[in-house]
């Protein structure tokens, strides 16, 4: 296998009992980028990350991190990665300082370097004032920051972030985004999972859309957006008899495939350019097609899913137990 990918995974499979959590996942992640794994709860994102991070055995397939096999060469892989889980992997009964102290020692730091590294990380993650408080007094955002700080002690070239912003308030979320960008600037590679299309869009150079354990689409944010449009136009017609005609008209203007609700009166059209909305309205009026309702929506993960998989994200949440099983 070639020595060019930070992450190279072929046909990864993981079963939890009867249930296949990850079903032949392939991933190729170039070094120096943010790679987003986008999918709903239970899609297999966490399981995939845990296999790549040597935390979970692999049932089928193989994966390499900077050329090292995650199963046969796990100890080497662990020297190259930092992992920040969905649930903060820090010690609740210890203070922030004590946590970092122990992780620094386990990473081979000794003497004054331990204190210095702790100071540096507490400072850069805005935790200096809370350094000696027990974690039970920490907010969710502070825990997440400490968790990430602990992942960066050894300055790993590859960092796994499992839903780093889920449950964070908007301000903390944007701080987390800044931090992730800084990691890339410093030369690291980041693999992050997210449920938010917006987050993948803002951060990721490439995105894999994952659903029921399978990668259903892969590409840059722009490539994926071309599939769904940047937003969606929803038109409700006065007469369902107009539906065929209206669909044709709208499709010819937006240049995208439209979908129709079962009762045919609602037409949904992905848009790549929101400026065409007026053109659509003018064209419909010229043809005497009555419009009773019109709305413009930003594309949601649901629409990515609807377009790519043919079903909505909600219908795939059957495996809420993914985390507990993993």
């Amino acid at each position: 296998m070639s020595n060019e990918w930070a992450i190279e995974a072929h046909g990864l499979v993981k079963d939890f009992g009867e249930q296949r959590a990850v079903d032949h996942v392939d991933l190729n992640v170039a070094p120096g980028i943010v790679y987003g794994v986008l999918g709903p709860n239970g899609a297999g994102k966490t399981t995939t990350i845990r296999m790549l991070a040597t935390l979970l055995g692999i049932d089928e397939g193989e994966a390499r991190i900077f050329g090292h096999d995650v199963v046969k060469d796990a100890h080497r892989v662990r020297q190259l990665i930092g992992v920040t889980g969905q649930y903060a992997s820090v010690d609740e009964t210890l203070t922030a300082r004590e946590n970092l102290d122990i992780f620094c020692r386990l990473q081979g730091l000794t003497g004054k370097a331990i204190r210095a590294k702790g100071d540096e990380l507490l400072e850069s993650f805005g935790l200096t004032d809370a350094a000696n408080k027990p974690l039970s007094k920490f907010s969710g955002g502070m825990r997440r920051r400490l968790d990430l700080a602990a992942s960066l002690i050894a300055r790993p070239p590859l960092i796994f972030l499992d839903e780093p912003t889920t449950g964070l308030d908007p301000r903390t979320r944007s701080q987390m985004w800044d931090t992730i960008r800084e990691l890339i600037t410093a030369g690291s590679t980041v693999l992050l999972t997210t449920q938010y299309l917006d987050e993948a869009d803002q951060l990721a150079d490439r995105i894999a859309v994952i659903d029921t354990g399978r990668v259903v689409a892969e590409g840059t944010a722009d490539e994926l957006k071309a599939l769904v449009g940047t937003s969606a136009l929803q038109v409700t017609l006065g007469e369902s008899d107009d539906a065929d005609h209206a669909s044709q008209v709208i499709s010819s203007i937006t240049g995208t495939d439209v979908t129709r609700s079962p009762e045919s009166r609602r037409i949904n059209a992905p848009l790549t350019d929101t400026g065409v909305v007026t053109d659509v309205l003018v064209a419909l009026r010229e043809r005497g097609i009555e419009v009773t309702e019109l709305s413009l929506q930003k594309p949601s993960l649901d629409e990515v899913f609807l377009t790519i998989t043919g079903h909505t994200a909600e219908s795939t949440t059957e495996s809420e137990n993914e985390e507990s099983a993993a």
Partner: protein, 274 residues
């Protein structure tokens, strides 16, 4: 959280990385994890209730219950009984190792330990080593109670210190059995149940409280191979006479065998635990 740092991260390719954990790192990481266990103990003193209250209650209770019946009076029972209750108390402390480990492993922080290039034995060995503090507390309180009840060990201060060392070392060795139960089972409650089932035969099917001569032959056979019997006999020798004989060597040999069997099993179970 700005400016993570301006220094650049070296490429992940072409690094010279050790393939295995060195022997020295096994030791170093275990000591770091022992340090962690002791900090946690200090933070949650309620963890120490069993090793502080039990020796006070059990030493007095068993001493006065069995003393008259077995040795005619409490005073003549103490030289026989105190080393027995000492070993029993320390092993009860050791039996909690599995439960503590199980509860700890269910927390998120163990994901980090698993993702770090650290020795796989360290989270287990560290926790068990930290428990030596618990054994020290339990042993000290037992001897204080014994002294108050009128026990004057013939082995003197040195004999008592040597007894403590021996019992702590053997307790550490036997705690690997409970560690295996801890990493093998899914719930802390289950671990506790199994731990009791192991602890009671080990400590009661020994010469801890009563002379073994009245037991049926088959039971005596088990009592003879039970390492706990030898630990207790060795503790009596050290405490009362200040001597270290065959029982001492059997106790150490038994402990070594327990480690040789249970430590690799526990570490393997921990590595594959998902």
């Amino acid at each position: 959280m700005s400016a993570v740092t301006t220094a650049t991260v070296a490429s992940g390719f072409d690094r010279t990385l050790p393939r295995h954990v060195s022997l020295r790192q096994n030791w170093r990481d275990s000591m770091i994890m022992a340090r962690r266990a002791i900090i946690k103990m200090r933070r949650t003193p309620e963890q120490l209730i069993d090793v502080t209250l039990q020796p006070i209650i059990f030493t007095v209770m068993f001493g006065y219950i069995f003393g008259g019946a077995i040795s005619g009076d409490v005073q003549s029972y103490l030289p026989f009984f105190i080393p027995g209750i000492l070993v029993q108390t320390v092993l009860t402390g050791a039996s909690a190792a599995g439960t503590t480990l199980r509860e700890d492993m269910d927390k998120g922080v163990f994901d980090r330990f698993k993702s770090l290039p650290m020795a796989r034995i360290a989270p287990l060995a560290g926790a068990l080593t930290g428990d030596l503090v618990r054994y020290l507390i339990a042993g000290t309180i037992t001897f204080v109670m014994a002294f108050l009840m009128g026990y004057r060990p013939g082995g003197g201060v040195l004999g008592v210190a040597a007894t403590m060392l021996l019992v702590m070392a053997c307790g550490w060795a036997l705690s690997w059995i409970f560690a295996l139960v801890g990493v093998s089972m899914k719930s802390a409650r289950g671990v506790q149940g199994i731990a009791f089932l192991i602890l009671f035969p080990l400590t009661f099917l020994s010469s801890a409280f009563v002379p073994t001569e009245t037991m049926p032959g088959w039971l005596q056979a088990f009592v003879k191979i039970n390492p706990v019997t030898h630990i207790i006999k060795a503790a009596r020798d050290l405490c009362n006479l200040g001597t270290f004989g065959a029982d001492g060597w059997y106790a150490l040999l038994g402990s070594a065998i327990v480690i040789a069997i249970f430590a690799p099993l526990a570490v393997r179970k921990y590595r594959t635990h998902t």
